[in-house]
Symmetry: C2
Subunit: 392 residues, 2 copies
């Protein structure tokens, strides 16, 4: 095949697959139908904005994984996957968004051709790209197979990053730093929010230090003032105002690897309560990051953070972090580990997280967050941005 993007050496893909197969064997699975685009990319190298139609990587216990998708996207698959051309299978266009039939019927045919008609097949039940209808169609077309929920099976194999992946995330960190620097340069009272977002996006795709910017899996979240009490509103044309805080929840992205980081900008004189919230978040973050080391658990970080925050008179419900890495829209989280009470996953060197202690106050939001990697000794902060509220 003609490889357009030689993302990782084939050996790295083979290591990933061996890890995935070990877990499949543990669970007694003969095949995995991998529909999460980030899992597909991680296993096969496939990269394209084609996940709005049905596609998958079919992984058995031996042989090459098979790419399956819309016929017109086989051309993109041939240019991005590491496997030989014979591993790429397309279905015809009449299956696209056609209520009369379902693309997964053709996936069932492929599975049967591979001898999997009566097999135990793992599917990702909880995924944006494995709809209830896809499951119904695949089940009906493979009446003698066992479809078994294996949500997260591949995601969990991605938790510990290789040195090459860590390097990609460091490059993404340079990009998110550049995006935040752009904000500090451009933001000012009177600037319509969409103009600011336009500059943030430009900076993110422009890239930094010679590393080109890929599209982050989420658009910039940039709410100001009272809108910042609501975490997931996007922008409009309202001007930035003196006396208002704006938080910027953004990520740099390098070859689909994300480094998210949030900062908060206050225009004008900061009220005391924002300074108090800043002090509490920074202090609680320090305590949390002290707990970010191998053999501690995800929960330990959340407890260290929440205990300190409560002592300082603030509260945060919800998780304060999640695993990050390779992602596609609509989420840059890996959907495995969370920093929250009850998550007893043991931290290992190479795991990567967005430590994300967002506080939503009654009349504004404050986010000062840190993307980190667990190392042998403790952790590495990917970004070198000062850990503080920005004021302008």
């Amino acid at each position: 095949m003609v490889s357009r993007i030689d993302n990782f050496p084939t050996e790295e893909y083979l290591i990933r697959i061996a890890r995935t197969r070990a877990e499949m064997e543990k669970r007694g699975l003969d095949w995995m139908v991998i529909t999460d685009p980030s899992n597909m990319a991680w296993v096969s190298g496939y990269d394209g904005w084609s996940f709005y139609v049905h596609q998958a990587v079919l992984l058995g216990l031996s042989g090459d994984p098979l790419w399956w998708g819309r016929e017109m996207d086989t051309r993109g698959a041939l240019r991005t996957v590491w496997m030989p051309d014979e591993a790429v299978h397309g279905y015809d266009d009449t299956y696209v968004q056609n209520p009369e039939k379902h693309a997964h019927e053709t996936l069932a045919d492929l599975i049967r051709q591979q001898g999997g008609g009566k097999a135990r097949i793992g599917v990702e039940m909880e995924n944006y790209y494995y709809s209830a209808a896809a499951h119904r169609a695949l089940s009906a077309a493979l009446p003698e197979a066992d479809l078994i929920d294996a949500t997260g099976l591949v995601n969990w194999q991605r938790a510990v990053k290789s040195p090459a992946e860590i390097e990609y995330m460091r490059r993404a960190a340079r990009i998110v730093e550049h995006m935040h620097q752009t904000i500090l340069e451009v933001a000012e009272p009177g600037l319509p929010k969409n103009r600011l977002v336009a500059e943030i996006m430009r900076a993110g795709i422009e890239g930094a230090e010679g590393h080109w910017g890929d599209y982050p899996a989420i658009v910039p979240m940039t709410p100001s003032g009272i809108d910042a009490t609501a975490p997931h509103l996007t922008w409009d044309e309202q001007p930035m105002r003196e006396g208002e805080a704006t938080f910027f929840e953004i990520a740099g992205c390098y070859r689909r690897y994300h480094c998210p980081q949030s900062r908060t900008l206050f225009l004008g004189h900061i009220p005391d309560k924002f300074r108090e919230a800043e002090k509490a978040v920074v202090e609680a973050t320090e305590m949390a990051l002290e707990a970010a080391k191998p053999s501690n658990t995800c929960e330990d970080i959340a407890i260290a953070f929440n205990t300190t925050l409560n002592r300082l008179g603030f509260e945060k419900d919800g998780r304060c972090g999640y695993a990050i890495g390779l992602s596609y829209p609509p989420d840059w989280g890996e959907r495995t580990m969370s920093f929250r009470r009850g998550d007893k996953t043991v931290l290992e060197p190479g795991m990567t997280f967005h430590f994300m202690p967002a506080l939503w106050l009654d009349d504004g939001g404050i986010e000062i967050t840190e993307p980190i990697a667990i190392t042998e000794q403790g952790h590495e902060c990917f970004s070198s941005l000062p850990r503080e509220l920005n004021v302008k």
Copy 2:
């Protein structure tokens, strides 16, 4: 409630709901669980990038629709929906991406509280945001209810746009024109593709003629040369080259309403076969658009296009257009009508489409497309860009 964005007057939402309820009654449905974010926005006004967690609008045959989602997103709901605060319901954060339990269990509780425990409930089986696991959880938690596939029920009610919606799409058209003008100004041999995409995105968010730009549901597709034979590859840092064609599949977006339009740019001297392909596409487009009028069908447009194209020595498989309007990632299509053989939907004034006759040749792609609205007399082209290959 404090409405942040007064998108449409409440009366328009009530008309939309009446239309939806008529179809629900026709199908004997007591409730609709609306999970498609564009359907949710169309019915309730809700707007936020929170669709990466489970959320829905619950619509019965009477009373206000109910917004249901993650507790932290109720704040964004309160600021964007037209319904009173009591219509907004949150579930706690422990349900987020937690394999131990499922958020749809809390939706089942809400449905039961509304008296729907034994009802006939429509669900959108074929949607990115209604996973196989969501369906399993909702079915298990409502053992006495009938969950009935109503994929597309709401989407179809959206097919005919109101004058206000058409106006939003005209504004989006100004934005996509501005994006294409930016491309013509900036593109040149040697320019890394990501730098060009950075400028396209900036132009799109900046907006045009006083209309701010919202994020399109798909990132710019901008493949050059041989990569352009693959329709859904995104960019990297490779420089643009003389002698290569690049197609730009992009959309302007105004308050979630999309106006997609593609153009192709050739740097340097155009080979004859590109000129021939251009001539064929433009002529076939003219024939197709002559068929774009009320009482004709979607299929008529495809047949007019394909017949002309074949006569001129070219072939295109796959559909040559689809319905457009209000959208969220990962797709700006409405997933209802397609311009392809077999789609016998009768065209009506107010329907809006992206006529999208992309040709992928052996060594490059050509896209010259037209966003259109069906009018009483025939059709309106939203954009005034010249229908031709661009050369620089």
